[in-house]
């Protein structure tokens, strides 16, 4: 059970295309993330025929996706937040289990936007990777004065937590696409049993394929 709603995923992928650093991940997957230089391609306007997310509008989805990708960047052979569908996970969580955090995200994203415009005269998604990292570092260290509630650190910590959840939660929640997160770290997932031989091995577990719920 790895692909639950292709339509939603298409929507959210579209939300990412052409958005700053994410463009590199989308258009040049074989290129090492650290050397993705062509990250300032202009954002493309989405057409009105594209569908809205369960919670995020297209712009917010793009921002959260770009932010998550910097927290867990993809690289050749190493799945990142985009590969795992982290923004899809967060979008579904905010429309369900985390509905009480909707305003937290709304205000946090508005403050992030204000901070980026003031500091770099641009939106977060249009900044290059180095500047996006500088923004995230400022949030992590509580050095973005534009933030009141949520505070910069609260907002950073929450997106970090939700990014990890989207990377590593079972795919039924909308992230960890094709077990991308579990493949990254070598977790075999919801195995119902480990044998004595499995337990006695000092090698990586290979007996059974990764399995989900």
């Amino acid at each position: 059970m790895t692909e639950h709603n292709p339509g939603r995923r298409t929507f959210l992928v579209r939300a990412l295309i052409g958005t700053g650093a994410m463009a590199g991940a989308e258009l040049a997957p074989a290129q090492n993330n650290e050397t993705r230089k062509e990250t300032n391609a202009p954002a493309q306007l989405h057409s009105e025929t594209e569908r809205h997310g369960a919670f995020f509008n297209l712009s917010d989805a793009a921002t959260v996706a770009a932010f998550a990708e910097r927290l867990m960047p993809g690289a050749p052979g190493k799945a990142g937040a985009h590969d795992a569908g982290v923004v899809n996970y967060i979008d579904l969580a905010l429309s369900g289990a985390y509905a009480d955090l909707q305003d937290f995200y709304r205000r946090g994203l508005a403050q992030l936007d204000a901070y980026c415009r003031k500091t770099y005269n641009d939106t977060f998604v249009r900044l290059d990777a180095a500047r996006q990292d500088a923004v995230i570092t400022a949030l992590e260290q509580g050095q973005a004065a534009e933030f009141t509630w949520p505070t910069a650190q609260e907002f950073f910590n929450t997106i970090r937590t939700h990014t990890m959840e989207g990377m590593f939660a079972d795919p039924i929640y909308g992230g960890n696409k094709d077990f991308a997160g579990w493949r990254l770290v070598g977790f075999p997932g919801a195995q119902p049993i480990f044998t004595r031989t499995d337990m006695e091995s000092r090698q990586a577990f290979k007996r059974a394929p990764i399995t989900g719920l």
Partner: protein, 573 residues
């Protein structure tokens, strides 16, 4: 508003409530059990879902609807704790716990006397309310034995009637017979912990756990799936109250369980006896049960809260509180940790039961000489995954990366990618001393979903005795991790003073009605038909997990109620 009559009403159907319900029901007493959560079944736990059970704490109280507040001292504002580490369903914490099942040491029951005998009065911090228990290990041994055999505990004896046995815990108190089940299979973290500890001259062993290493009592054995601490067991191999004592209670025909019910008052009359309890039903209705005997067995906060909420003109300071001791001497385990990574092998710590997999007891209790050290009492040491749970969300949330690696970005991704399968945590679980000013009371500002004042904790473990012990243990943990063959070893940060796991205190037991709330049976000194049973009665906490001792106390109280109190209701001591 419904009114029911019964012989016994038990508030809380966890480790204590399930045992009392079964044992009193077998003796022919009509028992009603109140449980605020649902009654789940093994079929409900078929999902091995880290997000739901570990990260979102599905089997725990909801911290927003059922808040508990904390402040480090009385001069600070109290804020709701973000995570509540106890149970919220029939079976209580035994549904999600790691099932670690220790007997306390002999000196754990007489910490004050033992400390004075060996180190003198000045060794005890002046502000500590350290006390002996009103019972000895020998008094409880037969009930430990019953709990191990009736519930199903796997382990290896280290002290059989005084004979020390290599491979078991040689520091344990003498036991009458072997465990009912052999130890669980060690995973690789246990294997390297065992090897490393032996090279340092310590005495490691497989942690005793209430998890079936072989089929037992009609239940299947553990599959080593690893979704253990924080999860309900998908095959019923964890010896939770849900699959052990509640079915026994059902079979008596004398037991009725009311789920979704929140007890908000213990009722009493002017004669000084309790008459029953009032509770909110799942529909919000207010209901009353009239009972000859009331037994309180919720998590410890609710013992204090219920007693304080139940004050009357006759009991102006709360029920059972003529001593003024209700709510005092709150204790909790604190767990200093180091992380260790291995470059020459995989560890795969996600395999097997996840909590405190392999242990040593060399630095617990007074098993080592504290002369010249500036603290008393010790810690149980074990190897575990990051947060006693071994999935990748837990690793991402609970492992601080080693110095030089940030918490995000490509270097962090590569750290997780390489070491998720190649790490272990070595953890100490410290015996923190009781202090009178560590308390539970009613929060004046925060209310829960039923409109009741939230329990408020005033607690800070950062005291000289505790800080010195933690530093001592961290050095031992680092040495152990290196002896295990780790390439890199680093410390986890300590928290900001909040209580950790395994809370104790609030309704202390003793042998003096002026300085304790209950006697050794959990019977209120003030009100003989009111019992309070559980870790809230512990005078001291031990470095060991409390549950097996809670269960042994429950068996002892049940025995006293059935064989003595039932024939002649009145003070048992």
């Amino acid at each position: 508003m419904a009114i029911e009559k019964t012989d016994v009403v038990i508030v809380g159907m966890g480790a204590v409530g399930g045992i009392l319900a079964a044992e009193l029901g077998k003796a022919g007493m009509k028992v009603i059990g109140l449980e605020r959560g649902p009654r789940l079944t093994t079929a409900d736990f078929s999902g091995q879902d880290e997000l739901r059970y570990f990260q979102r704490q599905d089997l725990r109280p909801n911290a927003k609807r059922q808040p508990v507040t904390w402040r480090p001292n009385a001069n600070m504002p109290a804020k709701p704790l973000p995570i509540l580490n106890y149970g919220n369903q029939a079976g209580g914490g035994t549904v999600h716990y790691g099932a670690v099942s220790w007997r306390f040491h002999e000196d754990d029951f007489r910490v004050r006397s033992h400390t004075i005998e060996r180190y003198g009065v000045p060794a005890i911090p002046k502000d500590s309310s350290l006390a002996d228990w009103p019972l000895t290990y020998a008094d409880l041994e037969t009930f430990y034995d019953r709990a191990e055999y009736e519930l199903g505990v796997s382990g290896k004896a280290g002290n059989l009637q005084g004979r020390k046995i290599e491979g078991g815990n040689m520091f344990e108190a003498p036991r009458r017979r072997e465990y009912p089940l052999p130890p669980l299979v060690a995973d690789q973290s246990g294997v390297i912990f065992e090897e490393g500890a032996r090279t340092l001259g310590y005495h490691p062993f497989s942690t005793p756990r209430a998890i079936l290493s072989q089929s037992y009592g009609g239940r299947a054995s553990c599959t080593y799936c690893g979704f253990c601490q924080a999860f309900g067991c998908h095959v019923g191999a964890k010896s939770s109250i849900l699959v052990t004592k509640l079915p026994e209670a059902d079979a008596t025909g004398n037991f009725k369980l009311l789920t979704g019910t929140m007890c908000f008052r213990v009722n009493s009359d002017n004669s000084g006896r309790v008459t029953g309890v009032s509770y909110y039903g799942p529909d919000g209705s207010s209901n009353t049960i009239e009972a000859e005997l009331v037994i309180l067995a919720p998590f410890i906060y609710d013992n204090t809260r219920l007693l304080l909420l139940s004050k009357t003109r006759k009991f102006p300071n709360g029920l059972a509180n003529s001593s003024g001791q209700v709510g005092k001497h709150l204790m909790a385990h604190i767990t200093p940790r180091v992380f260790a990574t291995f470059d020459d092998r995989f560890v795969n710590i996600y395999m097997g039961p996840s909590a405190q997999k392999h242990s040593l007891d060399d630095f617990n209790a007074d098993n080592f000489d504290h002369s010249g050290l500036n603290f008393i009492r010790g810690a149980q040491i074990s190897v575990s995954p990051a947060d006693l749970e071994a999935g990748p969300i837990g690793a991402a949330m609970s492992i601080n990366p080693p110095p030089g690696i940030p918490r995000w970005g490509a270097a962090y991704r590569d750290f997780l990618a390489k070491y998720f399968t190649r790490y272990a945590a070595v953890v100490a679980q410290t015996e923190n001393l009781p202090y009178t000013d560590q308390t539970i009371d009613l929060d004046p500002n925060v209310r829960d979903q039923w409109g009741l004042p939230a329990p408020r904790l005033t607690y800070d473990w950062r005291r000289p005795n505790e800080l010195a012990r933690i530093e001592f243990m961290l050095v031992k943990l680092e040495e152990l991790a290196k002896a295990m063959g780790a390439t890199r070893v680093w410390r986890a940060p300590m928290g900001a003073g909040a209580p950790g796991a395994h809370h104790e205190g609030g309704t202390r037991m003793g042998d003096n009605p002026k300085t304790s709330v209950v006697n050794r049976y959990g019977q209120s000194w003030d009100i003989p038909n009111l019992f309070i049973i559980g870790s809230s009665t512990f005078p001291t906490m031990s470095g060991f997990n409390p549950t097996l001792t809670i269960q042994a106390l429950a068996y002892m109280s049940a025995d006293a109620i059935v064989n003595r109190y039932k024939k002649s209701p009145g003070r048992l001591v």
